[in-house]
Point group: C2
Chain length 189, copies 2
Amino acid sequence: MTADKPLRADAQRNREALLAKAREVFDAGDFFDLRFDDFARLAGVGTGTLYRHFPTREALAEAVYHGEVATLCERARRLQATLPAAEALTTFLRGMVEYMDVHKGLARTLATLMADRSGALAEGSRALEQAVADLVAAAVRDGAVRGDVDAGAVTMALHGIGAAHDRPNWRAEADDVITLLLDGLRRPL
Amino acid sequence: MTADKPLRADAQRNREALLAKAREVFDAGDFFDLRFDDFARLAGVGTGTLYRHFPTREALAEAVYHGEVATLCERARRLQATLPAAEALTTFLRGMVEYMDVHKGLARTLATLMADRSGALAEGSRALEQAVADLVAAAVRDGAVRGDVDAGAVTMALHGIGAAHDRPNWRAEADDVITLLLDGLRRPL
DNA sequence: TTGACAAGTGGAGATGGCCTCCATATCTTC
DNA sequence: GAAGATATGGAGGCCATCTCCACTTGTCAA
């Protein structure tokens, strides 16, 4: 799944260049304003090369997304290993908002792609979703959190936060959503 | 704002036909799979006519959206007038999920358009948002709900629910989000 | 009614982005 | 260092979007 083909040296270089430029464009939030052809030139490769590496916009996004998701999942794992379950969950969710705030452009781009048909990002999403589910499950085992709601609800709310990234009062509202979620979860029923 | 121009009889008829067909296509969820030109033919008008009435896909969506939002706002107002504030809020939010469930295609289409840049739907959104804010404010006045969180958070969560419409376990998760939200709101702090 | 002007129509064709294709260049291996 | 494999890039085909205008339809005053 990870080591498909050895990939030639120049190919590797081009792929890297594309990903690097993509991350940059993502963060700037210009991903959808840019002609895909122009993006190739921007990254210093030909159109054909771009398309061979990433057949669609979504595929490119997915590739960028992968790295980010890995980071976030890693973070979840570390928190779970070092903190009491309830605290780990709280810290993780608060951190997600912070993360989205810092990486506005990226969060926005990903949210848009999520909303669009596709499920192109499904694989990456699943990993993140699993991480959240694990955190919630641990908190439930601890008795810190009610066990009668689907952890998917938390993921759903997170998606909502990401999707609403152009609201003028985004940060405050996002923090409040997390607050409500956490307080709702704590309530024994 | 409402009575811009008298609009000729045939124009009115065409406009109506477009809106009717649009609503139909929306509900079927085919809105994005359809060439815009073909949509014109489907509605029985020429391309030019379509574009004169609705310069963009978004404009068309906005027009459809308007009717729906009006209905929902009306519902909010009625609930607020006839039920205790806390109950009105609960009923409204539960109803929103039910509504989105029944009108899957429409909810999905709108969510996609929201996520895309634009803010084309901003005006309609604002009305709905105001309705939610009013419901929350009333509940706060009643002392049934905490006053330290922005009502926008509720709207944000609702957006999330709409945006996540392709999740396999959507309905259950959506209901759970509402549950968490309401329980979080009830908690005195 | 009818004539004359305004309002609206529709679809052919320009525009421009997306993607393919292949002659050429670059790596790798023996 | 030669052969084969792998990758490149950008010219050009394709197709959805949108414009434009010669024509049709509605409206209204006389």
